[in-house]
C-alpha cells in the first residue's frame, strides 16, 4: 500500500461561507510522518476531520488506508475509525470517568480483557507522564494534562494512522518536545502520523515533511534535515493527477 492518506482536488466549505479547502491534493505515505502548518482558520482541523470521516468532502476524492472514503457506508464508519487514533484540538474526554477509564475506552470497545486493558492503559499513561493521575477525573486536570490524556487514548490501541490536531497547544516546551518524540517513536515502528500544528519552532529541525495550508492551498514550505529524513518523507509531496 503506497498511500495511507491520499487527497485529490478536495474542496470544502461550510454552508455559504468561503471555500476553506480549494482543490487540495497531497499524500501521506505508509509509515510516513508529516506536519501540517498554517495560520489559524486556514482549515487544518477541517482537513483532519475529512480524514476521520467527521465530515464528507463536497468535491474531490479522499482515500484513507486504501479505502475510498466516499464509498464507506455509515455502518462501516466505526470500524474505519478504529484504525485511526485521533487527537483533537479539544481533548473530548468524558468528564465523569477517571483518566484510566477514558484511556481504556478504545480497548473496551474492542473487547480486550481487563488485565490486558490495565497493562496497556498504564503503558500509555506512563508514556505521556500521567501514571500518577489515573484515578483523577478530567475536570480536575490542567489543560495540558487533559490534552495528554487525549493523546494516551489515541495511541493506546496502536492505530495504523495517528491524526493529531494541535497536540502541543497547551503544553510547556519540555512536554511538547516529549510528545513529539512519542509520535516519532510511534512512527519508527510503522505508524503513519499526521500532525497539525502552529509550533513551527518545535518541528522545523525535525527530519519530517512539513506542508503549509493557507488560502485553501497546500504547499511544501520547509524541509527538515533532508539527509536524515525517512525515505517516504523525501518523495514528492503533491499527489499525482
Amino acid at each position: 500500500m503506497a498511500d495511507i492518506v491520499f487527497f485529490h482536488r478536495v474542496s470544502q466549505r461550510y454552508g455559504e461561507g468561503p471555500e476553506i479547502l480549494r482543490e487540495v491534493s497531497f499524500r501521506l505515505g505508509d509509515g510516513e510522518m508529516m506536519f501540517l502548518t498554517g495560520p489559524s482558520g486556514a482549515g487544518k482541523s477541517t482537513l483532519l476531520k475529512l480524514i476521520g470521516l467527521l465530515a464528507r468532502p463536497q468535491a474531490g476524492q479522499i482515500a484513507v488506508l486504501g479505502q475510498n472514503i466516499g464509498q464507506i457506508r455509515r455502518s462501516r464508519i466505526p470500524a474505519f475509525r478504529r484504525q485511526i487514533g485521533m487527537i483533537f484540538q479539544n481533548p473530548s474526554l468524558l468528564a465523569d470517568r477517571t483518566v484510566f477509564e477514558n484511556v481504556a475506552l478504545p480497548l473496551v470497545i474492542r473487547g480486550h480483557s481487563g488485565a490486558d486493558i490495565g497493562r496497556r492503559v498504564r503503558g500509555a499513561l506512563d508514556a505521556v507522564g500521567l501514571l500518577s493521575k489515573e484515578k483523577a477525573l478530567p475536570p480536575t486536570l490542567s489543560g495540558g494534562e487533559q490534552q495528554r490524556v487525549g493523546i494516551a487514548r489515541a495511541v493506546v490501541a496502536k492505530p495504523k494512522l495517528l491524526l493529531a490536531d494541535e497536540p502541543t497547544g497547551n503544553l510547556d516546551p519540555q512536554m511538547a518536545r516529549e510528545v513529539m518524540q512519542l509520535f516519532m517513536r510511534f512512527n519508527e515502528v510503522g505508524v503513519s502520523v499526521l500532525v497539525a500544528t502552529h509550533a513551527l519552532g518545535l518541528i522545523q529541525r525535525l527530519p519530517y515533511r512539513i506542508e503549509h495550508l493557507e488560502h485553501g492551498h497546500i504547499d511544501a514550505i520547509a524541509r527538515g534535515d533532508a539527509e536524515a529524513a525517512p525515505a517516504a518523507a523525501q518523495e514528492n509531496s503533491l499527489g499525482h493527477g
Partner: protein, 322 residues
C-alpha cells in the same frame, strides 16, 4: 517516557479473549453502566418504574378478577342439575335402567330416579298440600330422573350433554337450570377479550413511557455518545447500556405490578370471602396465577427492550461528532 511498542506485537494477538468471554464481558460492562445510570437518579427511576408497574397491574389485576369469577362459575356449575320428566309410557323398570345407564355416562356425576309415587310423596311432604292431593284420583306427577353433571367437566361439554339428554325418546320434557350460568360465561368471555384489548393498548403505553424516558437518558449522554463515536465504538456497543436500562425499567415495573395486584388481593379478600359464602362457592380467593406472573414479567421485559431499542435506534443516528 516509555517507548511505543510495535503495533503488530505478538502479545496483542495472544491476549485476544474468546468470543464468549468477550461477549460476557461486554454485556457485564453494559449492565454495569446501565445500573450506575439508574442508581444515579433513584427517585426518577422508581417513578418511571411505578408508572410502568401501574400500567401492567391493570390487566394483571383484571385477569385475576376474571379467574376468580371463573372459579365461582365452576363451583356453581356443581349445583346445576337437569330434571328429565319421563313420558307416562315409560315403565318403572325401563326408567330405572335408563337412570343407571345415565349415571355411568362420562360427564355425569350422578343420576337419580324418582318414581311417580316417590315424587308425589316428596311433593306432599314439601308442599304441605298433603290432604288436598289425597283427593286426586290420579297421581298427576311424572317420573323424573335428576341428572347432576360432573362439575369438573368443561362447561361446553356439560351443556351439550344436557341438550342430548333432553332429546332422549323416553324424555317428555327436560328442565335445565343452566341459562343464567351460560350468560355468566358469555359475559366472562366478553370481559376476557376486553382485557386483551386493554392489555394491548397498555402495552403500547409502556413502550412509549420507556422510550420517552430513555430518550431523555440519551440526551443526557449526548457528549458521551459523541466521544464513543469518535473513537469508533460500534452502534451496538453504544446501544447496549440503554437496552439494559429498558430491561431494568421493565423488570422493576413488573415487580411493582405483581406487588400491587397482591396488595389489592389482600384488601379484597374479606368481602370476596363473604360473597363466595353467599354463592356456595369455594371460599378461597385466587391470587395472581403463576402464568400471569410469568406473562407480566415476560411482557415487561419485552416491552422494555422494545421501547429502548426503538428510541435508541431513532436517536443514535442523530448524534454525530463534528
Amino acid at each position: 517516557m516509555v517507548t511505543a511498542k510495535s503495533p503488530q506485537s505478538a502479545a496483542q494477538v495472544a491476549t485476544q479473549p474468546s468470543w464468549l468471554s468477550r461477549t460476557l464481558q461486554d454485556h457485564s460492562r453494559a449492565l454495569n453502566a446501565s445500573l450506575t445510570q439508574l442508581m444515579r437518579k433513584p427517585i426518577a427511576t422508581l417513578l418511571t418504574a411505578f408508572v410502568i408497574g401501574l400500567t401492567l397491574a391493570l390487566p394483571a389485576g383484571l385477569d385475576t378478577v376474571l379467574r376468580n369469577l371463573d372459579v365461582v362459575g365452576d363451583s356453581l356449575q356443581g349445583s346445576m342439575r337437569a330434571s328429565l320428566f319421563l313420558k307416562d309410557s315409560v315403565d318403572a323398570d325401563r326408567a330405572q335402567e335408563l337412570s343407571r345407564s345415565l349415571g355411568k355416562r362420562p360427564g355425569v356425576a350422578n343420576a337419580r330416579y324418582i318414581s311417580r309415587e316417590q315424587a308425589l310423596e316428596e311433593f306432599k311432604q314439601h308442599s304441605g298440600f298433603g290432604e288436598a292431593l289425597d283427593l286426586l284420583k290420579d297421581n298427576p306427577l311424572p317420573a323424573v330422573i335428576v341428572v347432576t353433571p360432573d362439575h369438573h367437566a368443561p362447561q361446553a361439554q356439560t351443556s351439550a350433554l344436557l341438550k342430548e339428554l333432553s332429546n332422549l325418546p323416553e324424555v317428555e320434557q327436560a328442565q335445565l337450570d343452566e341459562k343464567w350460568l351460560q350468560r355468566l360465561y358469555a359475559i366472562l368471555d366478553l370481559v376476557q377479550r376486553a382485557v386483551l384489548v386493554i392489555a394491548a393498548a397498555l402495552a403500547l403505553a409502556v413502550v412509549i413511557v420507556i422510550a420517552n424516558t430513555i430518550r431523555l437518558d440519551i440526551e443526557r449522554h449526548r457528549e458521551e455518545i459523541e466521544v464513543m463515536k469518535l473513537i469508533g465504538a460500534p452502534d451496538g456497543f453504544i446501544r447496549r447500556p440503554f437496552l439494559y436500562t429498558g430491561l431494568g425499567y421493565g423488570l422493576v415495573g413488573a415487580l411493582l405490578a405483581c406487588a400491587m395486584v397482591a396488595g389489592a388481593g389482600m384488601l379484597l379478600a374479606p368481602p370476596a370471602h363473604e360473597l363466595a359464602g353467599l354463592y356456595d362457592a369455594e371460599p378461597a380467593l385466587r391470587g395472581l396465577a403463576p402464568e400471569a406472573v410469568l406473562a407480566v414479567f415476560g411482557a415487561a421485559l419485552v416491552l422494555g427492550w422494545l421501547g429502548a431499542f426503538w428510541t435508541v435506534s431513532r436517536h443514535l443516528h442523530q448524534i454525530e461528532p463534528d
